[in-house]
Symmetry: C2
Subunit: 263 residues, 2 copies
Amino acid sequence: MLNIGAETLVLTHDMLAEGVHFIADADPADVAWKLVATNLSDLAAKGAEPLGVLLGFMLGPDDARFADGLEEVLGHYGVPLLGGDTVSGGPPRAYGLTAIGRATHRPVPSRAGARPGDALYVTGPLGTAMMGFEALRDGTGADSTAYRRPMARLAEGQALAPVATAMMDVSDGLLLDAARMARASGATIAIDGARVPLATPERRRQDALRWGDDYELLFTAPEGATLPIPAHRIGTVHPREGAPLLLDGKPLTEADGLGYEHG
Amino acid sequence: MLNIGAETLVLTHDMLAEGVHFIADADPADVAWKLVATNLSDLAAKGAEPLGVLLGFMLGPDDARFADGLEEVLGHYGVPLLGGDTVSGGPPRAYGLTAIGRATHRPVPSRAGARPGDALYVTGPLGTAMMGFEALRDGTGADSTAYRRPMARLAEGQALAPVATAMMDVSDGLLLDAARMARASGATIAIDGARVPLATPERRRQDALRWGDDYELLFTAPEGATLPIPAHRIGTVHPREGAPLLLDGKPLTEADGLGYEHG
């Protein structure tokens, strides 16, 4: 974050690497979409309005298709490409994106603000990306859009910023990201697994709690606070005692395989 | 560039790729230095004061040494690391850096502002990086600092911004960069080769005019303008006629091999 005159800027830089974040034969247009959307999701979690992006691009065999996807996603969000650089390199290739946003509320929400007694919410159902990934992998013909082209919850993040005590996007799995929020806040977060809204069959609940890439917002707010948008109450913040996470009363740590940890 | 309230931000994103911008056995501390310095040099050419950087980092075998160099260069320039991301990947590896600066003068100088009748200047001698590179390559023991750890002319850029009609840094060779300035400005730039200050023996003059990586500032100013810092007068801007560049009266284009063009 950066204070400029009366404004606070929020800056993010996320990379996507072939073989880590996308497979070699992924549609480059989808890779471009995901690169932008994941960075904008970081801005969403800060309640920031995007002002522009800069792209670090590694030249490859299907760059026109990447450019198509880039144009689509920037058009969708109304965000300008402010600059960037291209290099030859790879495979494996990697792309980097910097997103710049303007904070719409101060203090800017962080993952460190959850307080004992706060209620824990998520903005939407989990497992959409998992179902999309499996549809693609298994060639079922079911819709894979949520996996290929995730959405940044920009409007939701801006609406929630004044009321959220802590906020982050669910990128690496609900349980893992909740544990990170708990550690950053010096608290223990208790999740009621049955209350987590799912986009999957019930039998996949445990998987959906650990799958990432949905980019819903996970946030805390004071118990009883009126929320500006609909959200799902899934837990409560407690004083820190033992593990950072309680799932249906059972203590969990990162060592229990809470989600997706990538290099 | 981005206007925020009463301020104008200058944003740059440059990448360094193994095998293109640095060799595999380069000291990672020097690579980190160069990555930051080249981006800050872009800010210098805009007369901008750096506010911070974000790093896109590809993990590798000697990351502690990279971190050392990063700390040194950020400390040298007093610039904070605001964020970034790391991924596994490579070889070949690539690093990206976004630098954010605050314009100290508006309009912000660009390479497109050279006007017929303007005088052309360079802030310092050319060929320092070339001599450093050759010292390293040939193991002569001569000083290679200028090649390994280039300097961004931040103070010079800020001093010159109010008087320069066009400004850029010499990153890919004086002749090539001057041709780019001429094309962007719709002008022809005439350079008096003998007046270009050199850090090399006289017999290397033609090489020094084509070697990059010195990061001196190349700028134009109205004939007779008082300059706030010492600079070397090396040419004059003419109305565009034929080639973008005249070297000692001889027309040259990019096809003549003016400098270093990388992918």
